[in-house]
């Protein structure tokens, strides 16, 4: 009997011992280890990032910040796929793990509504940050319910990219309207050359469609969150979206973000509508054979001269142990003085006037002129600012797939989508 017991003890020890062995090997490298830093004089801050050129640039900025202030900056990064979920969970359970948090603008309403972000309105009045260096549209990029929760970490509007040689050969100029865009696409689409490429794929194709709806003068929903995606404007825009499909390379139905750019950079495609944030890749001769042959222009205008604006936000979590030090870092990295340095460190540009109008910068990065977003008459649309964005986005993408693959007509598909969005938007918190 005693012998049997010794068997049990060993068995138990084996089970637990191995866990302990696993524990000791790892507990030290978690990023949230420095809560002990005193609130008055923090010696270090923790920054939550999502892998991106902007996050890489922030990391390069950190040593400069430490040299100036003596505050050490620790970074922790999480893949986009689960990043927002993890950041939100950490903040809501008040772990105080982070002093700065990077997030996609699409999640700003959800974060703000959940009470996960500290308002930045007082902070950003500082001279060093200089809010007035931004156009009015960008000043609002990061606000929810009248308060600012996110700073502009990158400014990435849709722009038109085109191959100079292909357009020149057909004796065409860069398109300025959607009609011209289609005309250029038709004129250049022959043989191995495709007329254009935009995103049609699952999980993101709808972002291009939204641009078109806005250009056609439509809206996705009204003030009371009633969806309007089957309006005549939206139907016309969707028809146009679908009509462009034959002028895109085969496979476009599965392309979103990266695939669109890879395709443009690797094959013969006359034009592309894509976020400006891809500039560092497309204009890098090492990565992109079309670097020297590509030029950019503003996104074509429709009934409305609309442009869709994307880009990272960054803010301070509501449970930050050292919000002031967090702000110091943000002001240092994103303020007027160092914004150009961020760009040189490889980040997608910040659309400050001091950056987008700087002659030296413009000479080096011609596309910057499209990032100021203060052209008269230009209507800037950020992504729909919805707490229910993830579901809204997925529903649009799924609904459009049915239309693009020909399962339903444009009108029927949009009617169905409108019904689906009605259910989703009913959950949107009002006011």
């Amino acid at each position: 009997m005693r012998r049997t017991r010794s068997f049990v003890v060993v068995a138990g020890l084996m089970a637990i011992g191995m866990v302990a062995a696993g524990c000791s090997s790892s507990t030290s490298n978690d990023a949230s280890g420095s809560k002990s830093a005193s609130a008055n004089k923090p010696s270090e801050i923790n920054v939550f990032t999502i892998p991106s050129p902007s996050a890489d640039a922030l990391k390069k900025m950190a040593p400069l910040f430490t040299a100036k202030t003596g505050i050490k900056v620790n970074f922790s990064s999480t893949e986009y796929g689960t990043a927002h979920q993890k950041a939100l969970l950490s903040i809501k359970s008040k772990q105080g793990a982070f002093d700065v948090v990077q997030f996609d603008n699409t999640f700003l309403p959800a974060f703000a509504y959940a009470g996960a972000l500290a308002p930045l309105d007082d902070y950003q009045k500082s001279d060093a940050y200089d809010l007035n260096d931004f156009s009015p549209a960008l000043q609002k990029y990061g606000t929810y319910g009248g308060k600012t929760y996110g700073l502009v970490l990158s400014t990435e509007p849709f722009i038109t990219w085109y191959r100079k040689s292909i357009l020149a050969k057909a004796n065409l100029k860069a398109p300025t309207t959607w009609d011209e865009y289609q005309a250029v696409a038709k004129a250049t689409n022959s043989g191995n050359t495709h007329g254009q490429i935009i995103g049609y794929g699952t999980g993101g194709g709808d972002w291009w469609w939204m641009q078109l709806v806005w250009s056609w003068g439509g809206q996705l929903y009204d003030k009371d969150f009633k969806p309007l995606v089957n309006s005549p404007e939206a139907v016309a825009a969707t028809q146009y979206y679908k009509d462009l499909l034959p002028l895109a390379p085969s496979g476009a139905l599965s392309f979103t973000g990266d695939d669109v750019t890879i395709q443009y950079a690797s094959t013969q495609i006359a034009q592309m509508i894509q976020y400006s944030g891809y500039a560092s890749g497309v204009f890098d001769p090492a990565k992109s054979p079309v670097a020297g042959d590509t030029a950019v222009a503003a996104v074509p205008a429709g009934k409305v001269n609309a442009v869709e604006l994307a880009g990272w936000n960054i803010g301070i979590p509501s449970d930050a142990p050292n919000p002031d030090a967090g702000w110091q870092f943000l002001e240092f990295a994103l303020g007027k003085e160092n914004a150009k340095k961020m760009l040189e460190f490889g980040a997608a540009a910040i659309g400050r006037k001091s950056v987008t109008t700087d002659p030296a910068m413009l000479a080096k990065y011609p596309y910057l002129s499209l990032l100021g977003l203060d052209t008269p008459g230009l209507v800037v649309y950020p992504y729909p600012q919805l707490v229910t964005w993830p579901e809204f986005d997925k529903a649009c993408s799924d609904g459009l797939a049915d239309i693009l693959t020909g399962k339903v007509s444009v009108q029927d598909g949009l009617n169905a989508l409108n019904d689906k969005l009605t259910l989703i938007l009913a959950k949107e918190p009002k006011g």
Binding site: S25, S26, P51, G257, S288
Partner: protein, 279 residues
């Protein structure tokens, strides 16, 4: 004469079909490795370059210049190693019990649990586990991953090992018991040495499962616990206009597996099949 000619024909057909199947089985592996050794223009050219391309290591040097990748590789090894030890260690004891006793308290519930655990989509458990781990502050820690990995591999480990233990003649143990040896001594001195080859084979198979595990680390892990499959999945939205590093990372994930398979496969499969099939 006629018979032997038809035999020859069947042999040739067999070789031909097996060769075609092998081509299908190995081409994607070759293509992954080849792409990882190509320069960007060569990787994207049409028609594709199968053999004549300029070899480059730049995709690998780029990976290893990134300190993240080295840590990812170490993480993967650590998690695989410990969870395999845990699953095989715990599983061996359970397998021995199942093999040696027809009826005992908890046998049926254990069988039911293991079968259902094997059959249930992992995401069913992951959603509540995520909630639980978050509440207890266990997210993003290697031990959390290790324990969950090993539990998910347990049904598998127990299924493979039970026949090995059952195949050990009862008489050996009984005579030792008559000599007064304790259960544990018997297990350690008599059973384990005989079962060791089977356990080693099991450990390698379990390690392969752990090495490949994706859903657990992607949901319950963090940057500091990132494993290879999570790292590789990050290439989908990386704004990287290049497939080279992706192919390089994939190659580094699959090459160890291919090497292990080649080195030990004859013994592994031989051992497993014969061990499993012996009456």
């Amino acid at each position: 004469m006629k018979r032997s000619r038809s035999r020859l024909f069947t042999d040739i057909a067999t070789y031909f079909i097996l060769a075609v199947a092998t081509l299908f089985a190995l081409f994607p592996v070759y293509w992954t490795i080849a792409t990882s050794l190509k320069t960007r223009p060569d990787a994207f050219v049409n028609p594709p370059k199968f053999f004549s391309f300029d070899l480059t290591w730049e995709n690998y040097t780029a990976l290893f210049e990134d300190p993240t990748f080295v840590r990812v590789y170490i993480n993967t090894i650590v998690v695989t190693l410990f969870s395999t030890l845990l699953a095989v260690g715990v599983g061996a004891m359970a397998s021995y019990s199942l093999a040696r006793s027809r009826r005992f308290a908890g046998r049926r519930p254990l069988e039911v649990s293991l079968i259902l655990l094997r059959a249930m989509p992992a995401v069913v458990l992951i959603v509540p586990l995520y909630d639980m781990a978050a509440r207890f502050g266990l997210l993003g820690r290697l031990p959390t991953l290790i324990v969950i990995y090993s539990v998910f591999a347990l049904p598998f480990a127990i299924w493979i090992m039970t026949p090995f233990f059952a195949a050990i003649p009862m008489e050996l143990e009984e005579s030792a018991r008559v000599d007064g040896a304790s259960s544990f001594t018997i297990f350690r001195r008599i059973v384990l040495p005989i079962a060791a080859p089977g356990m080693a084979a099991t450990a390698i198979f379990v390690a392969l499962l752990e090495w490949n595990e994706f859903l657990v680390p992607v949901v319950l892990g963090s940057e500091s616990t990132k494993t290879l499959p999570v790292f590789i999945s990050g290439f989908i939205s990386a704004r990287n206009l290049d497939w080279g590093p992706m192919a390089a990372a994939s190659s580094l994930a699959i090459i160890p597996i291919v090497v292990v398979t080649i080195l030990v496969q004859r013994r592994l499969i031989g051992g497993l099949s014969s061990g499993a099939l012996k009456e």
